[in-house]
Each structure stands twice: as C-alpha cells, then as structure tokens.
C-alpha cells in the first residue's frame, strides 16, 4: 500500500543534514511551509544551500525562510529577491553567498531539474551582469563574482544558457493532499511549490488538509512527493 503520510514533521525531515541543498516553496509570506521550517530549525542543521524566491523580512520572531536566515543556518542563498536586512549585513560582511537568479529563470531551473533536462536557453538577463558576469556573489577577500554565462544567438535573438537545479530536499506547502502524495494548492500559494517538489531528490510536504482528490483537481501528481505531514493547527 502506498502511504506517504508521516507521523510528524520531525520524522519527515530526519534525513536532512548540514550542508544539504534545500529548495523551499513560497512567494513573500504566501505558501511558505512554516511548520516544516520550524521542524528543521529544531534540528542541528547548518551550512545549508537554500533555494527560495524571497528571504523573509528579518523581523523578530519571524517564521519561514527569515528564521533560517536569522539563525545563521544558510551559507548560500539562491533567490531572486533576498531582501532581508540581517542577511544583507552578513552578505556585505562576506559571510554568506548570494546567487541572484531572475525569478522566471529560477522557476524554470527548478522545473528543468525535475524534468530530467540538462539545461535551457532563456532570453532573460541577456546584456546584464547576471548573464555577462560581474554580480558580486560573495564579498571579502577574495571577492567571488558571478562568471559570465554561455550565450548563444538563436533565430537572431540572444539567449543565456541556464542549468537545472536538483536540490537534495524540497519543503513544500500544499492546501490538500492524499496518501499517494497528489497535491492541490490554493490560489497564490501555489507559486514555486510544485516546481520545488519536482526538482528535489526528496520532497517533504505540509498540507492543510488530507483527504481524497479527483484526478483532474490535482495540481501536482504524487510521484514527485516523498513525505507528507498535516499542517500544525495555528496556536491560539
């Protein structure tokens, strides 16, 4: 029998190790798997390569990706919009690395990883320091800058070669799931979540509801999901 439902987030995340790459769904505060992140922060996991669109706000007591950054668990952050004052301080101090990726390229690199593709050509970023090189990924001595990316003219237009992302783990938030791991998301909370699930070698999902789903109501089929936990009810 197929049953991907685990007893709790701690059990579902027990193989996540320091140094792992972890992609996390969400856009701003929408669709972020905060329970899974809390469970991850309960373990001694550090030096993560986190892949996520946003970096949280850097507020005291913040949940989500901002908590991972605040607790200094991230050595490299691949993202489009890292905006988090505390993390930026560590970036300018040369303690952490930022791989800045245009948002559509980030989405497509995750999808390519999940689809077994070797890379793709996108027109995005051509003629900018995110393609021609020069963006400072890590400050300090020596400074690390983004190397120029391979470019190619196809049908008269310049495209940039981008490679897939294939992280060790994905943390994903769904609205509804069944025991097969089939997922359905809710409105703007879908965003990067299905792509994160596709890309990772091991995908852990928190779902607000667990039940059955009609075949055409499923946004992401179960083979992309490994472990599933029910979202913790909000504390009163």
């Amino acid at each position: 029998m197929i049953d991907k439902i685990r007893a709790g987030a701690a059990a579902a995340l027990e193989t996540v190790h320091s140094g792992a790459s972890v992609v996390i769904g969400g856009f701003g505060r929408t669709g972020v798997p905060v329970d899974l992140i809390d469970a991850l922060c309960a373990r001694d996991v550090r030096e993560l390569h986190v892949i996520a669109n946003n970096g949280g706000q850097g507020l005291p007591g913040e949940r989500g990706i901002g908590r991972l950054l605040a607790e200094n668990r991230v050595k490299k952050f691949s993202c489009s919009f890292p905006v988090n004052p505390a993390f930026f301080r560590r970036y300018f101090d040369g303690e952490v690395e930022i791989e800045l990726v245009p948002q559509g390229t980030l989405a497509e690199r995750l999808r390519a990883g999940g689809s077994g593709l070797g890379g793709f050509y996108t027109p995005t970023a051509a003629g900018t320091i995110l393609a021609d090189g020069g963006f400072v990924m890590r400050h300090g001595t020596p400074e690390k800058t983004l190397p120029p990316k391979e470019q190619r003219v196809i049908d008269g237009r310049t495209y940039v070669l981008e490679f897939p992302l294939r992280p060790d783990f994905a943390l994903v938030k769904a609205d509804r799931a069944d025991r097969y791991g089939n997922l359905r998301f809710r409105l703007g909370a879908r965003n990067f979540n299905p792509l994160a699930a596709m890309a990772a070698r091991t995908t852990v999902v928190q779902a607000d509801h667990i039940g059955s789903l009609a075949p055409d109501d499923i946004h992401l089929p179960g083979p992309f999901v490994d472990h599933l936990v029910r979202t913790e009810p909000e504390a009163a």
Binding site: F27, G28, R29, T30, G31, N53, S80, F81, P82, V83, F88, I98, L100, V101, P102, Q103, G104, T105, L106, A107, E108, L110, R111, T122, P123, T124, A125, A126, G127, T128, I129, L130, G134, F135, F185, R186, L187, G188, A189, R190, N191, F192, N193, P194, L195, H219
Partner: protein
C-alpha cells in the same frame, strides 16, 4: 504641477486598452489595479502566479491573494491561478500585452535599470523576465531621484535590467515614448513647462506632443 503618485497611476490607467493582459511590477505600478478603467476590462497579472487581480480588499484579506509586492489584493471575474513557471511562460512567451515597471534609470535608447543601486541591496525579482518578454514595457517613475538627479539619462550608470526594452516612460512631469529606439516627449503634466522637463532630463529627446483630441 508634478503629478501625485495616484494621479500618475490614473494617467497610466487611462492609456490601457480594453482586454489587455497587464503585469504590474513592485512600487508605483501596484496602484494600477486600484484605478477605475470605465468601459475597459483589464486582466492584471502577478508574476508569482495569479491573473485577474483587483483592488485591495475592503474586508478581511486572504493571505493567498497578494500582489507582486506581497500586499493583499482581490480576485475578479476570469481570475486564474497557476505556478510560477506558467506565470513566466505567459511573460516570456509574449502573452502579456503590457508590463508596467518602476525604474531607477532609463537610457535614451530604451535601456532599463531598476534592480540595483551600486553598493546597495540586490534584488531582481521577475523584472528581467518581464522586460524581455512583454509585448510593451512602460516605465512609471518619478522624473528625478531623491537627490534631484535626472533618471532619464543618456546611458544608465546602474546595472541594467534589460537592453532597449522600454517603450514608454510615464513620470510625474511628462510622458515619453521610444520610437525606433529614439526618445520623444509626448505629453506634459498639467502646468509643467517644456523648460522644466528639459532641465530635469539628461537624455536627448525630440518634442512631438500627442494631440489631446486624437487617440494617445
């Protein structure tokens, strides 16, 4: 008189065409879905994966319905939700009639710089994808920066978002259009003189004002 932010949003909204699918970037463009567009149905697209976004909610906000700036908005008739890869397929695939972005600088051949002040905090979001993908790119910005420097420049000195991508620039002082890569002044804000615009613009441009009676 320079236009206020909401007056500028109303001005831009006036030029939208019925049926357009329009992405609005963070900053001032996020005011657009709140502007009335009588007789015109506009589908506003949010880069993370929503289409058919409307004004901020009057009641309790839904945390799963936000715009690109993470502010609560509403969904209108015809709204659709999808993942971020489909959202950028719409953008890169040429299915956006228009994208309205804020800018730090615009070069006189249509280059756009809107994501990084050198030495400042980096954050690019979806701007580079939108700039290359949308059928039209309009910029909505203050004519000068907080230090009074011209933002319409001979060349951008800040890192670029896209090369030669801008079609129009709406500022608090004027409307400019790029035609064949050259910049043309098309409209002055009420009470703003040609001299004031010239004094606050570094880019070279010609003056060929729209006839207000004709279609803009």
């Amino acid at each position: 008189m320079p236009l206020l932010r909401t007056e500028l949003a109303r001005r831009v909204a006036g030029d939208l065409e019925d049926g357009w699918c329009v992405n609005v970037g963070i900053g001032a463009p996020l005011l657009l879905p709140g502007q009335p567009t009588p007789g015109k149905e506009i589908l506003y697209h949010c880069e993370h994966g929503l289409l058919g976004v409307g004004p901020p909610p009057e009641g309790e906000p839904d945390p799963d319905i936000t715009d690109a700036g993470k502010n609560p908005v509403t969904l209108l008739a015809g709204a659709a939700a999808f993942d971020s890869s489909v959202s950028f397929a719409i953008a890169r695939g040429g299915r956006l009639d228009l994208c309205v972005l804020g800018a730090l600088q615009v070069g006189e051949h249509g280059d756009l710089a809107n994501w990084l002040v050198p030495g400042g905090n980096p954050g690019v979001g979806g701007a580079m994808d939108l700039a290359v993908g949308a059928r039209r790119v309009w910029v909505m910005m203050n004519h000068v920066d907080k230090q009074g420097n011209a933002k319409l420049r001979k060349a951008c000195t800040f890192p670029l978002t896209g090369v030669g991508v801008v079609d129009r620039v709406y500022t608090d002082l004027a409307v400019f259009e790029f035609t064949g890569g050259a910049l043309t002044l098309r409209e002055r804000a009420p009470g703003v003189g040609l001299e004031e615009i010239a004094a606050r613009t570094e880019a070279t441009y010609t003056v060929d004002l729209w006839n207000r009676g004709a279609a803009a």
